[in-house]
């Protein structure tokens, strides 16, 4: 990372900023989205299971 003008030069990524930052942004958007989706579906399955167990009084 060039030390010339600090942050701006770093963010410019040697002229490749428009490729490097979207690559990282997209990667972590997809991975974060997967994590969020997994978490939400898990919560939903727990709620469903709880409701059914209450409804049928089953305990197993």
């Amino acid at each position: 990372m060039p030390a010339v003008s600090g942050v701006a030069a770093y963010l410019a990524m040697g002229g490749y900023a428009v490729f490097v930052w979207p690559a990282y942004g997209l990667t972590f958007a997809v991975l974060g989205g997967l994590a969020l989706n997994s978490w939400r579906r898990h919560r939903r399955s727990l709620r469903l299971l709880e409701a059914l167990q209450q409804q049928f009084g089953a305990r197993r």
């Binding site: 490097v20 690559a23 997209l26 990667t27 991975l31 898990h42 399955s45 089953a58």
Partner: protein
């Protein structure tokens, strides 16, 4: 051995204990990997700073292939041994693998534009990875396309097994055909041809991706088991109430097996 390890109740216990460790360490390792990749690693003498795309592109590609292999093995076990956990594992892994494959394709495109001068080219490596992406999507559509999860799972397992032929094609496409894509520089016979200052950030990122995969896999498998249990409960409840309504002598609920 497989049976002992793959008992659903045991899996729920083990994964409940492992999940916090695995997910938090994936966050820590990914943060470290980002720091190494974006700050510590040197620019390439030819590619300049654009080489930093490698640290997300290559681990995503490794995971895209590994997760598919995992799905294929789990599908084989599901078909042959009929083990309920194997099919749930394969289903749970598919969206994660599709995500990694998409990341691989998209970051590859963003890397290809400045380095090769094109976003996309229909050569062997790129096309075979695109086929992998479609295999993932096909598998997901297939397992969800049946009302009966058992039939859906069986159809998906067959597709996953047939699709395995694509894996060696992807891996060796850069050797078998002329392609714009460079040949392997880490996973090859002999020593890696990549400098240590770049190899270490790459491996840290790969470890972070792996830990994330295992964490998400466990969460999604737990979800799958909960859903199966819910389905069984609902079937039980319906059968029991029908038996009660028709005044059947006993509501001996024929509990459907967990698969």
């Amino acid at each position: 051995m497989i049976n002992r390890f793959a008992n659903p109740a045991r899996f729920m216990r083990l994964s409940a204990a492992a999940l916090p460790w695995c997910s938090w360490s994936s966050v820590v390792v990914l943060a470290l990997g980002l720091y190494l990749a974006l700050v510590v690693a040197p620019p390439d003498y030819q590619q300049g700073e654009a080489v930093r795309i490698m640290y997300v592109h290559v681990p995503a590609a490794w995971l895209a292939l590994s997760v598919y292999l995992f799905i294929a093995v789990a599908s084989g076990v599901a078909l042959v041994a009929r083990h309920p956990l194997a099919e749930i594992a394969a289903r749970a892994a598919a969206p994660i693998g599709a995500g990694f494959t998409f990341v691989c394709l998209a970051t590859g495109s963003l890397w290809g534009r400045p380095m090769w001068g094109t976003w996309w080219v229909w050569d062997a490596r790129l096309t075979s990875v695109l086929v992998l992406f479609f295999l993932y999507l096909g598998y997901i559509a297939l397992v969800n396309g049946f009302d009966d999860p058992v039939r859906g799972g069986r159809a998906g397992s067959l597709l996953a097994l047939v699709g395995v032929v694509n894996l060696p094609i992807i891996k060796f496409s850069v050797d078998w055909w002329n392609t714009l894509h460079q040949p392997a520089s880490v996973l090859r016979l002999g020593a890696p041809t990549i400098a240590l200052s770049m190899l270490i950030p790459l491996l840290v990122m790969a470890l972070g991706f792996w830990l994330l995969f295992v964490s998400l896999l466990m969460v999604r498998m737990r979800t799958g088991l909960n859903e199966r249990k819910a389905l069984a409960l609902r079937l039980n409840g319906v059968l029991a109430s029908r038996a009660a309504r028709t005044g059947a002598e006993s509501a001996r609920s024929p509990r459907p097996a967990l698969r």
